[in-house]
C-alpha cells in the first residue's frame, strides 16, 4: 500500500516536535520519523528549557511536562587555572510563577513532547532512519527509509534531523558542516541527593541554578562550560569548536575531566555518582552559516538549519520557534489553497525574519569570526581579570594606586594599548 501524508517530519527533537504538533493540531495528517529507539533517546542538550517558546505551542505545558528545577539564579564565571571572577544574578522575581526557565532531562522531556504530538493525531514511528529524500522533478515528494518498502510520500517534508542534517547535505540543500562552524560538547550527568544539591547551591524546593563558564577550562580553545542543577542530578559539560579540538588534539573527555578538578568546581561535585556521559555537536556558525530554509516541498528547522545563539546558549527555543513557524506557514498556505512550492514557502523565511530567531542571530553575526580569530578572549583575558581581582582584593601593604598601576601594566603588557583598544572594538562590533 502506498503511504501518503500531508507532511512528513524527519526527527523528533524540539524543532521536529514543534512542527509536527503544530501541523497535527490543525488536523493535517502528519508522519514523524525518528531514528532513535524512542523520541529523545538520541537527543542531547545541557539542558535548559526556555518556557516562552514552548508556551506559544503548548500553553499549559507546566501542568504536565517533566520539568526538573526552575532557575532563580544565573552565575557567569571567568576562570583562570586556580581562580575565577564572576557575577551572579539571583532574583525573587524568578521565584514567582509563571517561571521563565527550567532545567530538564531531555530523554524524559522529549518523550512527553512526542506524546503530545501523538495525542494531537500525529503518527510517530521510531527506529527508522530516513536515507534520502525522494524527488519528483525538483519537488520533494517524500522520503525513503532504511526499511524494506520504505518509500513514503508527502506534500511536504520538514527536515528536523539535527545538527549534521545528512538529508539536507545529500539533497544539496546545504554544504557539509565545516569543523569551524560546529562545537563538540561533552556532558556528564551526576547523581546527587536533592537535599545536598539544595544545601550546596543555596536552594529550596524546586529552585535551581545555572552556571555558565569561560576561560582556562577550554585550554585556549573557543568554547564554554556549564553546570546546571536538576532535581537529583547535576549536569556538567564543556564544548569547544571542533576545529580547535582537532588542532589542539585534546580529547574532549580529558578536557571535561580537567575542568572537573578546577578548585572552584571540584567542591560542587563532591560525593556525586556518574549516571550518564554524552557527547553532541552544536551548530555554532551563526547567521552567516544558515542555509536556505525552504524549497519546493520542503523546509528546514532547528539545529538542521544551524539555529543556535551561541552567545546566550540558546538553541532549543530557536528550534521550537522555527518548528512552530514552519507549521504555521503550511497551515496558512493550505487554508489559502496555495501550493507548497518554493515561492509560497518563502512565507516561512519572512516569519523567521520577523521573529527573535533571525533578529538575534543577525545581531551576533560577526561574533563567530571574531572569537575564532582572537583566542585571547579565552586565554589572556580570564587570567588578566583574575589577576586584577587578586590585586584589588588582597591586602598586603601595597598602596592602592600602585596596585591599579600594576593591573594596568599587566593588561598593557599582555595585549598592548592598541591590542586592548582593538579587542574592545571587536567585541563592541560583534555584540552591537
Amino acid at each position: 500500500m502506498r503511504e501518503k501524508f500531508d507532511a512528513i517530519v524527519v526527527g523528533a527533537g524540539p524543532a521536529g516536535n514543534a512542527a509536527a504538533y503544530t501541523m497535527a493540531s490543525a488536523g493535517m495528517s502528519v508522519l514523524q520519523i525518528e531514528r532513535g529507539e524512542t523520541p529523545g533517546s538520541k537527543n542531547v542538550q545541557g539542558a535548559i528549557l526556555y518556557a516562552d517558546a514552548l508556551e506559544r505551542i503548548i500553553p499549559d505545558f507546566r501542568d504536565e511536562a517533566p520539568l526538573e528545577r526552575y532557575l532563580i539564579e544565573q552565575r557567569f564565571w571567568m576562570l583562570s587555572d586556580d581562580a575565577y571572577v564572576g557575577s551572579t544574578y539571583r532574583s525573587e522575581a524568578f521565584n514567582r510563577p509563571p517561571y521563565n526557565r527550567y532545567t530538564i532531562v531531555r530523554a524524559q522531556f522529549d518523550k512527553w513532547f512526542s506524546k503530545k504530538v501523538q495525542e494531537a493525531g500525529g503518527l510517530v514511528i521510531c527506529e527508522t532512519t530516513v536515507r534520502e529524500l525522494m524527488f519528483d522533478g525538483d519537488r520533494v515528494a517524500g522520503v525513503r527509509t532504511d526499511r524494506e518498502g520504505g518509500a513514503i510520500y508527502a506534500d511536504l517534508v520538514v527536515l528536523a534531523d539535527g545538527v549534521n542534517s545528512t538529508l539536507a547535505v545529500k539533497a544539496g540543500f546545504h554544504p557539509e558542516l565545516k569543523p569551524k562552524d560546529v562545537a563538540l560538547a561533552v556532558k556528564e550527568t551526576l547523581f546527587l541527593a536533592p537535599e545536598v544539591i539544595e544545601q550546596r547551591f543555596n536552594l529550596k524546593g524546586e529552585e535551581g541554578v545555572a552556571i555558565e563558564m569561560g576561560g582556562n577550562i577550554t585550554q585556549g580553545m573557543v568554547g564554554t562550560g556549564f553546570l546546571y542543577t536538576n532535581r537529583e542530578t547535576l549536569t556538567i559539560g564543556v564544548g569547544c569548536l571542533l576545529s580547535d579540538f582537532a588542532q589542539q588534539k585534546i580529547p574532549p573527555y580529558v578536557l571535561l575531566e580537567q575542568m572537573k578538578t578546577h578548585p572552584a568546581i571540584r567542591p560542587l561535585l563532591e560525593g556525586t555518582e556518574l549516571k550518564e556521559y554524552v557527547a553532541h555537536l552544536i551548530p555554532e556558525g551563526g547567521y552567516n552559516a544558515i542555509p536556505k530554509l525552504y524549497g519546493n516541498g520542503w523546509m528546514i528547522v532547528g539545529d538542521s538549519a544551524g539555529l543556535v545563539n551561541s552567545v546566550h546558549r540558546e538553541g532549543s527555543n530557536l528550534a521550537m520557534t522555527s518548528g512552530r513557524l514552519a507549521g504555521e506557514t503550511v497551515i496558512e498556505l493550505r487554508a489559502a489553497g496555495k501550493a507548497l512550492n518554493t515561492a509560497n514557502l518563502a512565507l516561512y523565511k519572512r516569519k523567521m525574519d520577523e521573529s527573535f530567531v533571525m533578529k538575534d542571530l543577525k545581531k551576533y553575526r560577526r561574533l563567530p569570526d571574531v572569537l575564532h580569530k582572537n583566542p585571547q578572549f579565552f586565554t589572556a583575558y580570564p587570567e588578566l581579570l583574575n589577576g586584577a581581582m587578586h590585586q584589588i582584593v588582597s591586602v598586603d601593604g601595597t598602596d592602592k594606586k600602585s596596585k591599579e598601576r600594576e593591573v594596568r601594566r599587566s593588561f598593557g603588557q599582555r595585549r598592548g594599548l592598541f591590542g586592548l583598544m582593538g579587542d574592545a572594538f571587536k567585541l563592541w562590533r560583534a555584540f552591537e
Partner: protein, 281 residues
Amino acid sequence: MHIVVCIKQVPDSSQIRVHPVTNTIMRQGVPAIVNPYDLFALEEALRLKDVYGAHVTVLCMGPPQAEAALRKAISFGADDAVLVTDRAFAGSDTLATSFALASTIAQINKNMAIDLVFCGKQTIDGDTAQVGPGIAKRLDLQLLTYVSQVETVDTERRDIIVQRRAEGGVQVLKTRLPCLITMLEGTNEMRFATQAGIFRAARHPVKIWDKTAAGIEDPAKIGLKGSPTVVSKVFAPKPKTIKAELITCESDTPKDLAVTLIAKLLTQNPNLETAIGKGAR
C-alpha cells in the same frame, strides 16, 4: 495454526543503576525493552508462520506502557496483541503471574483454538524461568523447555518435533499439540521489521484486558495476595576491586616469561606449591 507468544517488557539491564541512597533500582529514565529471550521465541513463531502459515498473537502482562513491547512485536510480524493490565496484578510473583497468563490464554483460546504457546527461556529482570512451565502446568499443555529449534509441526497429526539443548548434547523430541515451548537464546536472529510492519504496529489496536476480561474470578490468586514469594531485602553487593599488577621481566623469551610468572604466582600463594606437589605425587 494459532500461536501465542508471551513477552515481557523489562528495564534495559545494560542501562540500569542502583539508587545510591535507597539501594532500589532506578527505573526513572531507564529505557524499557522487550525481554531479549522472548525475541527468540517470537522469531521462532514467525518462522513457523512463514513456513506453515499461522495467526500469531502476542501476549503481555504489565503496566499500560508495556503496550510498546506489543507494538514492537507487531512490527516484526505478529498479527494480534493482548495487553493484560490491572492494578490488581501489582506485586505478582511467578506463581500469580503464571496464573494470570494461563487464565488470559484460556480466554484467547475461546475465540481461536491455540496450538502452540511460546515463551522465552526466562526474563532478564527475574531470571526464574518459572512462568513458562507454570502456564503449561496450569493449562495442562505439553511442556518443552530449552528448545533450540522447531523442526516440524504437523497440524493434521497434531504433533511437533523440536531440538532441545540438554547437558552433553541435543535431544530431538516429539510431542503432541497443544504444547508450550520455552525458547533458548541465540538460536535464531530477529528479523528487521519492514516499513509496512512499522506502520501496522503504529496503527494496530492493541487489546487491553483487565482482570475480568482475562477471566480471573478469584482476586486472592493474583497480585500480592496470590504471591507467596517475599522480597525480604535488596542490596547492592560491594564491588570487589583488585589492582592489576604489571610483572616485569628482563628477558622476553617465552621460557623466562613463564618462569617469572610462575615464581610470582608461587610467592603470592605459598600453599599452591604444596598443592601442586601433592597432585604430582
